[in-house]
Symmetry: C2
Subunit: 329 residues, 2 copies
């Protein structure tokens, strides 16, 4: 056990200080009250609607990259590459399995049920008939019809709430709100953290107020590390929720080592390890008890379909164990 005056306690104190200064440095969340209300309403509707008096399962899927503003009146920012494809795809499979999904996504990233459609503009798959009616072009009829039908079913069935973010400040503020609302769900809550979260940021108060001028020579920048909020999520924000984080690397040599480290360091239940170049075909599910490779197969099932199946199984097991602990404890 760590003694209160030991290195761990000091680390803890230093970490708490960094978290405090991150949130203090964040600009206030625009329309925060309304966002909180929508999230709380969605969760409580799903609790009430659940059968057998047991709370239904709710997953918060995060998706897309967060930005780090470099100027207060933001013109330039650092961004993390992430199309949001993984999060959008996974959301569809969670809904299919009966989970209520809070889809916390980067504005403009891929949306659930829109993944098969051309990227550029939805205007390309419609035409106007002579009678001025709108018709889906023959070439896209099947995909568009299915997308609209499945999307409407998810929203009308109360199983999908979309909440957008752009900056790292917005993302972490909203994640904290979601976690607070999900806390009462205990082990029935899940976090599926597929967003590409910035590692470095410029503290708001040290940020240039106006646009950085480019007349001079090279630009030198110093960025502070973003405190790793995963530990907070696990220890304080929603300690009973089942937590899955992602580890993306371009270098396969360090990927699994870093996934293992994340599992231990942040107390995740699962870390999904993926490499940038093969991420659509293969991921490795890393848990305390071992590593399972998940791949697309000959039936061309998406890697997310098999991944979500496996994670739901692990979540069910986690719920059972938690209930046993509650009875025995």
């Amino acid at each position: 056990m760590d003694s209160p005056g030991g290195a761990a306690a000091e680390d803890q104190q230093e970490f708490a200080g960094r978290v405090k200064s991150f949130f203090e440095s964040a600009p206030p969340l625009v329309d925060g009250e309304n966002v909180s209300k929508k999230i709380a309403g969605f969760i409580s509707r799903n609790r009430r609607a659940s059968e057998e008096g047991r709370p239904s399962r709710v997953v918060c899927v995060t998706s897309g990259g967060t930005t780090v503003p470099l100027e207060q009146r933001c013109v330039r920012y650092i961004d993390n590459f992430s199309s949001g494809h993984r999060g959008a795809t996974s959301t569809e499979y969670f809904v299919k399995a009966g989970y209520a999904v809070i889809f916390l996504h980067r504005r403009g990233a891929y949306q659930p049920y829109c993944r098969y459609l051309p990227e550029d503009s939805f205007l390309d798959f419609f035409e106007v008939t002579e009678g001025s009616a709108i018709r889906v072009c023959e070439s896209h009829a099947k995909e568009v019809t299915r997308a609209i039908r499945d999307y409407r079913a998810a929203v009308d069935g109360g199983l999908l709430l979309k909440v957008p973010f752009t900056s790292i400040f917005e993302y972490l503020q909203i994640l904290q709100i979601v976690a607070g609302s999900m806390k009462p769900l205990g082990s029935f809550g899940m976090f599926y953290l597929a967003a590409a979260v910035s590692d470095f940021y410029v503290p708001w108060e040290s940020m240039a107020e106006h646009k950085i001028q480019s007349a001079g020579g090279p630009l030198d920048m110093r960025l502070a590390p973003v405190p790793k909020m995963l530990s907070l999520l696990r220890k304080e924000w929603a300690p009973m929720a089942f937590c899955i984080s992602f580890k993306l690397e371009t270098d396969s040599d360090i990927l699994l080592k870093k996934a293992d480290m994340a599992l231990r360091k942040y107390g995740m239940h699962v870390v999904v390890a993926n490499e940038l170049s093969t991420r659509k075909k293969e991921v490795v599910v890393v848990t305390e008890t071992g590593k399972v490779k998940v791949r697309t197969d000959e039936q061309h099932r998406e890697v997310e379909e098999k991944l979500i199946d496996l994670l739901i199984e692990q979540h069910s097991h986690y719920i059972e164990e938690s209930e046993k602990d509650a009875v025995n404890g």
Copy 2:
């Protein structure tokens, strides 16, 4: 006149060196041959289709922000804030006025004819009827029908070509291709440079090959200034084209001074000055002969409608003057 050994010649040489090293450091354009072919085809079809044997007018509208990758296998990048709203809106008015438009836009930015529609997902404005047909929701029927009709008319009429980019490398490579194809149009060509182009970049060869690791302390970065290609566009790529650039600042005190400077330094015909906070209501059109303020009016005409009217007038005047010069010269 500058002597060949003078400061200007040295500057010129230094500039040429920076341009060379920028393009050498750029990764090759993906599918570059196909992009070139599409652009050349679009321009020559419009030349052939023009009436009275005079080439019709073609404008290249650039729109949205460029990114600067920080890693070769790009996970993190610096981005420039720009929704692309100005470029998308202006494209509609240029098409309406009979210009053929090459819409060189950031992937995912606003698209022409899509501006009135909710940002999140087009799935929100359609529903599936009981007979499995797709129907526009009553609440969006008017906007969606108009958008699809106008868009189809522009594309089917051969007046709109959409070309996407993401990074500063792609953007400048494609801009050079477009300029080369537009050169034969002489003064009938126009560049309307509304894209938010990065001022700083990381030379490809000095870029980290793998993802930057975040385990350590703060991150220090040094970025090189992007050579200002506007001068090259004017002097070499398409010397006769009518060139309009944009100056966006958050600080109104320096805005007009910087617009004047851009006019002289890069030989622009027009610089449109706009301030971040008021840019949707007001711009200032800066030319050699003076400054004209353009504002939205009581009839709620968009600022772009009046701006494009004015610019087309100036373009007509420029064409006349150029033809007189050609006759007299």
